[in-house]
């Protein structure tokens, strides 16, 4: 039995570029920092691609993002996802997590799936609460911190190895289910040239708030229930001392610093 998998992917400012800054409106200046697929979402995307390779089926990417999210989505399509759904609406700028949750849940209500995969957190938000909240809204079994995902499509169940403080818990639930995945799912593939070519003609459906029958008074920037009240720079770290010399001199420099800071 083929698997229908929806992977939540968020475009985030590329952490490697380290060019994030706030614009005049106090929001992320998206022009300054190139967007990439959130790192943790690439792990779940990779896992979903391996699953449909093994079981057959299709992978749908789902993002809530500005229109430029389409470009980021193309990379996921180039990796092998079959289609995309992009929820985009001017009213969504400045959304809080609550809106994100409502919007993604509404979009999922319009899709058919056996599994929804979400990343452990996003590199720009570091929240990791969206998956659990969506699962609750949709009353889906929720399996988190996944190191391994093993569906049994014939039985209609899925097993997940959940990372625990002492090792792993083996979880089992009926499908459809929502799973939050981690880096242990495996390193994401690079898009092939063929994949990049194919991605251009893959279908991406764009949905507005109206399409999802959501009201901009209830979700989106205007409905945000939290606000940024200020920003500060973190305290600067002191200057770096660089020591070159014999290993013994290096070792002595380390021990001296540790002693002076009462760390030994």
């Amino acid at each position: 039995m083929p698997l229908r998998i929806v992977v939540l992917t968020k475009p985030v400012p590329d952490p490697a570029a380290a060019a994030e800054r706030l614009g005049a409106d106090g929001r992320l200046d998206r022009a300054a920092s190139p967007a990439v697929i959130n790192g943790n979402d690439e792990y779940t995307l990779e896992a979903s691609l391996k699953l449909v390779e093994a079981h057959g089926g299709e992978v749908t990417l789902l993002s809530m993002a500005p229109p430029s999210g389409l470009e980021t989505m193309r990379k996921g399509l180039a990796m092998g996802a079959h289609r995309g759904v992009l929820v985009t609406d001017p009213a969504l700028a400045g959304s809080d997590q609550g809106s994100t949750i409502q919007v993604l849940a509404a979009a999922l209500r319009g899709l058919e799936y056996d599994l929804v995969l979400a990343g452990f957190d996003t590199s720009d938000g570091v929240g990791g609460v969206v998956g659990a909240a969506i699962a609750s809204l949709l009353k889906l079994p929720y399996l988190s911190s996944a190191a391994k995902i093993e569906p049994d499509p014939d039985a209609g169940t899925v097993r997940v190895r959940r990372i625990s403080p002492t090792g792993f818990d083996l979880l089992e639930a009926p499908m459809p289910a929502l799973i939050v995945g981690t880096q242990l799912l495996g390193e994401p593939r690079y898009p092939s040239l063929k994949g990049i070519m194919a991605a251009r003609s893959k279908e991406v459906v764009t949905k507005s708030l109206a399409d999802l029958e959501l009201d901009a008074k209830v979700v989106g920037g205007a409905a945000s229930r939290s606000k940024v009240t200020g920003t500060t720079k973190p305290p600067a770290r002191g200057a770096t001392t660089v020591v070159r010399g014999t290993p013994e001199e290096g070792a002595k420099a380390i021990a001296d610093l540790l002693a002076s800071r009462r760390l030994i």
């Binding site: 952490p15 490697a16 380290a18 994030e20 706030l22 790192g39 792990y43 809080d96 997590q97 609550g98 452990f120 938000g125 929240g127 990791g128 609460v129 659990a132 909240a133 969506i134 609750s136 009353k139 889906l140 929720y142 399996l143 097993r159 990372i163 002492t166 090792g167 818990d169 083996l170 979880l171 089992e172 639930a173 880096q183 390193e187 945000s224 229930r225 939290s226 940024v228 920003t231 500060t232 720079k233 973190p234 770290r237 770096t240 001392t241 660089v242 070159r244 010399g245 290993p247 013994e248 070792a251 002595k252 420099a253 380390i254 021990a255 610093l257 540790l258 002693a259 800071r261 030994i264």
Partner: protein
């Protein structure tokens, strides 16, 4: 006007327990924060423990907050904990008037916070590095843009919500007096689908978890292999620290993922971070840049770690590492 709107309700903590039934370290920190906020707000602090046997953790939590509600929920064992706990906590909180709900920002705390936010229809502020009480609500600091900026956020007027608190940003401290523990029986059905735990696999754990360590000695690709980590471990042992690693070392299979530090690993804040053969890539840096003292041993003086370490010793990590062991032993 500051102070004009004092907390209407109580500062609540939803606590987590360890496998042995004791209170999780992150919850001792969150409970300490709850008490501090309660003092600032002129409110009281309370906690919730949901576990198959909540007794031990509830007694511990009462060392931090004035009131503890403990629910002995058999389903908290044998099923994924967070959904069970969040539903029981939501039922308790629905008849209280919370000023804010605090949880840890680790895997279980996030799951509880996310589920609670949906059940109670409340906003969440995540991954707090500091929380103060201001204008009748929590004022929440978060580190963003790879640590380049700290934002302060609040719930909008008239709203209350949930805040997840990063581990190691609060020093746990018990209150002067013990709080009261109320034990409740679980009441009502659990509506969300429960997820069965069909097996538990215990893996050889690191001697000391990195989240709790005062000192971390970490190895990267430069360590060269699993054998290279023997030296890292030896230095960690002499310094009484835990062993951490970069993703490069984890991906190579030299060390388990639960010891990875960084963007897709753990975020740590030890007093000392000693990095051997680690370049200091941004994805690693975000996990350790707030460490008290950062020292790198690297043969490349231009490695990015030289931009934010206190001290970089340029040289071969095996030579410097061995000399360091000798030096530390001679001073012991």
């Amino acid at each position: 006007m500051a102070g004009a709107k004092d907390a209407k309700g109580t500062i609540w903590v939803v606590a987590e327990t360890n496998a042995d039934g004791s209170l999780a370290k992150s919850s001792t920190e969150v409970a300490t924060l709850a008490r501090t906020l309660a003092e600032a707000a002129g409110a009281s602090a309370a906690g919730i423990v949901i576990a198959a046997d909540p007794k031990a953790a509830a007694a511990e939590l009462a060392g931090y907050v004035a009131r503890v509600v403990a629910v002995a929920e058999p389903k908290a064992a044998g099923y994924a904990w967070a959904q069970v706990a969040a539903q029981r906590a939501a039922a308790i909180l629905a008849s209280e008037s919370p000023a804010v709900i605090l949880t840890g920002a680790g895997p279980d705390g996030r799951d509880v916070a996310g589920t609670l936010s949906a059940l109670l229809e409340r906003p969440v502020l995540v991954n707090a590095t500091a929380v103060a009480w201001k204008d009748g609500g929590p004022s929440v600091e978060m580190s963003v843009f790879g640590g380049k900026l700290i934002t302060t956020s609040a719930f909008v007027d008239g709203e209350w919500g949930i805040v997840t608190v990063r581990p190691n940003v609060v020093t746990a401290e018990e209150a002067g007096s013990k709080g009261k523990v109320e034990t409740q029986a679980p009441a009502g059905d659990l509506d969300l689908p429960l997820v069965k735990v069909v097996d538990q696999i215990t893996e050889a754990a690191a001697a000391l978890p990195i989240e709790e360590a005062r000192v971390i000695v970490a190895g990267g690709r430069g360590v060269g292999g699993p054998d290279g980590f023997a030296l890292v471990r030896e230095i960690a042992a002499v310094l009484g620290g835990a062993v951490g690693a970069t993703r490069a070392a984890v991906d190579s299979g030299w060390i388990p993922y639960n010891q990875q530090i960084g963007q897709t690993g753990k975020i740590v804040k030890p007093q000392l971070y000693l990095a051997l053969g680690i370049s200091g890539a941004i994805q690693h840096k975000v996990g350790m840049q707030t460490a008290g003292t950062i020292i790198g041993i690297n043969r490349d003086p231009d490695a990015p770690i030289a931009e934010f370490a206190d001290l970089v010793v340029v040289g071969d990590l095996f030579e410097v590492g061995k000399a360091l062991l000798a030096e530390l032993k001679s001073r012991a």
